[in-house]
Amino acid sequence: MVEFTINGKKVEAEKDEAILDVAMREGFDIPTLCYHDTLGSDGRCRLCVVEVRKGNRKRIVTSCLYPVENGIEVLTESPDVLLVRKTVLELLLARCPDSEVIRYIAKEHGVSNTRYAKDNDKGKCILCNLCVKTCEFNVGVTALGMSGKGPAKKVTTPYGEPSRVCIGCGACVAICPTGHIYMEDRDGVRMIWNKRFELARCPKCNRYHAPVEQLEFIAGKSGTPIEELLICPDCK
């Protein structure tokens, strides 16, 4: 058992827990974009920075990665934290000027503009890696990946072409914190990652509800007959 304080409040945690997990459990509000409870932390968005004081020393750390220690003092809203967080928000804003989510969080922190040169080719993607991870670990198909490095790094299917393994489930769309990924359902067809999916109709309510490929994938994995999966969740 590890004991330390967050904003002066005494808290207990298990060894190897990250500060962010403890802080959230204790009801402290730390902003973050790349954290997801099913996928763990990568420290990519850097919004969750906090100040850690140990004796006479203090440093700014990403709370999602920093393991708890006995006797540390964690401050989630100190002047230094707010300053760093504002800079992070300015950088995110420069990368994704069109992202409503980032603009909203920035505004909440009193950041309305950025002093850095704005990108116009990144869309709303902050490279948080959640879509890539959910595709690999939650869905289990690994259709997505990062390509390139540095300023050219981006999320994509190989060669940006329709992926052989993508099942069109849209988990990447659901998990994306900024709404970067494009998906459209129209006239019984879903378009996502440049791939075209036929949508299945529910035999009871006649509503399109999921790509055929996704239902086939689930049927293959779980052994549930496809006829059963064709019935939409609302009619079950």
């Binding site: 690994t142 990946g145 390139g148 299917t157 190989p158 992926s163």
Partner: protein, 155 residues
């Protein structure tokens, strides 16, 4: 593009089908084709049971791997500090003009790929050009044409 699966199988087996040698396999394939064909990446990934997207991540990450066909000869123009001061950028400009391509591109006839490097460690010879391991020291815009002609006719 069709790839020679027998040759790629030889490469894969050389590394005992061990996926930690993915990069080495890619380099071997690149040596053979002078680039990494998409089909080769897909084939290697399939045989190693690696998702194609992961193989693509590796293939796009390393500067030494190319996804587009490269020229038979790679021209490295040094732009390190010494070469830079002694006119390296001029040499690069001259190559770009003479070959009618930009840095990083390949000529239409597939003979040359033009690249810059940040130091070849032979600063006394600045400005330096290296083609397929052969060094050309103290180059001038005038000597660039001569160098190109050396490769133009043969091979």
């Amino acid at each position: 593009m069709e790839v020679d699966t027998a040759a790629i199988n030889t490469i894969i087996d050389k590394y005992g089908k061990d996926k930690s040698y993915l990069l080495a396999m890619f380099q071997d394939v690149q040596r053979q084709y002078r680039y990494l064909p998409k089909e080769a990446i897909q084939y290697i990934c399939d045989r190693l049971h690696i998702p194609f997207s992961k193989g693509y991540e590796v293939a796009t990450f390393y500067a030494s791997l190319s996804l587009t066909p490269r020229g038979r000869h790679t021209v490295h123009v040094c732009l390190g500090t010494a070469c830079h001061l002694r006119g390296g950028p001029n040499i690069l400009d001259t190559f770009e003009r003479e070959l009618n391509i930009k840095k990083g591109e390949t000529t239409e006839n597939g003979l040359f790929t033009l690249e810059s490097v940040n130091c070849l460690g032979a600063c006394a010879l600045a400005p330096l050009v290296r083609i397929d391991g052969q060094d050309y020291g103290k180059t001038t815009p005038g000597s660039v044409k001569k160098i190109i002609n050396e490769y133009g006719e043969s091979s």
